[in-house]
């Protein structure tokens, strides 16, 4: 069996190393598939569905589907882009995303996706749910209004024994991500900063670190999310 697989994305012939997921294989070929709950180095979850692509006629999440020989992948197709846009819009109306007052604005992946998709207003009615801010932890603030329940922090932030410091509490539409009351005490400064960086939105904030980057130098002020992948020159073999 060859070490490489051949496949197409929107008709473009691509080649990538076997044994990786579609998003990573696409990245190797300079093609950006939008993701939100996915994070480099963390086991993919496929929960946000933003990375949905059509593989040989079936919708699949590109972050959890391994690349295979002969896959015909549809990515930047109108109905798929519309589906992704609608997910971003749903996330905006489901929580309380007040961008003008958010510490993560400009570095927020949800906002950056909205910029990329040129979303001016969500098509769905705003829900304005009543959620609390938990500032009880000495190092971090858990801002529940902004949490999109992607589980990135639960998957990525662990103590030395591999136990998750963040956890889900309650169920269904009342579910929320909280700091484990016992394990949370061990949260080091480095882990707290990592948790803030891992959070795609402004839901985990290190205390006294908000608004640290001035407007104009933030991650998505000048470059759209994914443009770093698209701008890489790929040498075709």
């Amino acid at each position: 069996m060859s070490q490489f697989v051949r496949f197409t994305i929107d008709g473009t012939e691509c080649m990538a190393a076997r044994g990786q997921y579609i998003v990573d294989a696409a990245r190797e070929n300079g093609i950006y598939i939008p993701t939100l709950c996915n994070y480099p180095g963390v086991k993919p979850k496929g929960s946000c569905r933003i990375c949905t692509v059509r593989v040989n006629g079936r919708l699949m999440t590109a972050c959890t589907t391994p690349i295979a020989d002969g896959m015909a992948i549809e990515n930047e197709i109108h109905d798929i882009v519309e589906l992704r846009k609608s997910i971003v819009e749903l996330l905006f109306v489901e929580g309380n995303h007040f961008c003008p007052g958010c510490e993560k604005s400009g570095n927020c992946e949800l906002q950056a996706l909205a910029y990329r998709f040129k979303i001016m207003v969500p098509r769905f009615p705003f829900q304005f749910p009543l959620r609390k801010i938990d500032a009880s932890h000495p190092k971090i603030i858990k801002e529940q209004n902004r949490c999109i329940l992607c589980k990135r922090c639960i998957r990525a932030i662990r103590d030395e024994k591999g136990r998750s410091i963040f956890a889900y509490r309650r169920r269904s539409n009342r579910v929320e991500v909280v700091v484990d009351p016992k394990l949370g005490k061990q949260l080091t400064d480095e882990l707290a900063q990592k948790a803030m960086d891992v959070c795609p939105v402004g839901s985990i904030l290190v205390k006294e670190k908000g608004f640290i980057t001035p407007i104009g130098s933030r991650k998505y002020d000048h470059e759209a999310i994914g443009s770093d992948i698209e701008n890489v020159q790929i040498t075709k073999i």
Partner: protein, 182 residues
């Protein structure tokens, strides 16, 4: 040919969007060549005197007067544009959504740490005062809105490019940096 007529208003907003509008700097001289202003805080015309082509709405609806003005704008303007985050999603005033209105009033006039003068414990009740809505509504949940310009405030370039596109009928080409939510 008569010039297109523009009206503007600030509902539950901070006038920041109007300030950003004035931030088009000397292009305002070009603008008054292109359009005529009707009801607007910019020229202080209080009432519509004719049908308008473009209405710019800043701020969401937090009381009965906002709703009244917004409906008046819808009646008088062919195109309505939601200007800024407050008009689009309620913005800062909408942070009271989810808190009962009685609690908001009690905090502001009876129990808040800065309340010192209200010894008779009166909540504002003059019949002349507009009644607060149960929550702050985005404009498009009250009337039909045609276009949306996000930002807090929307950048002067975004307002300028949009107005020019609406007036000339050309397709709007927006550079990435112009559209921001903050």
């Amino acid at each position: 040919m008569s010039k297109p007529v523009v009206a503007t208003t600030s509902l539950a907003g901070c006038f920041g969007c109007h300030m950003s509008f004035l931030d088009i700097d000397d292009r305002i001289l070009e603008l008054i060549e292109l359009v005529e202003f009707n009801k607007s805080p910019i020229n202080d015309i209080k009432k519509f005197t004719k049908k308008c082509d473009i209405g710019l709405i800043e701020g969401g609806c937090c009381n009965s007067e906002n709703v009244h003005v917004l409906k008046d704008f819808r009646e008088h303007c062919k195109i309505l544009v939601s200007l800024g985050e407050c008009a689009i999603m309620g913005g800062l005033p909408a942070m009271r959504n989810g808190i009962p209105i009685s609690e908001c009033l009690a905090e502001a006039y009876l129990n808040g740490p800065t309340v010192s003068m209200n010894e008779e414990r009166i909540l504002p009740n003059d019949p002349e005062l507009p009644i607060l809505t149960d929550k702050v509504y985005p404009c498009h949940e009250v009337v039909k809105i045609d276009y949306f310009l996000p930002g807090c405030p929307p950048s002067a370039d975004l307002i300028w490019l949009t107005l020019v596109a609406l007036i000339t009928g050309d397709e709007l080409q927006l550079p990435y940096e112009v559209v921001k939510f903050d």
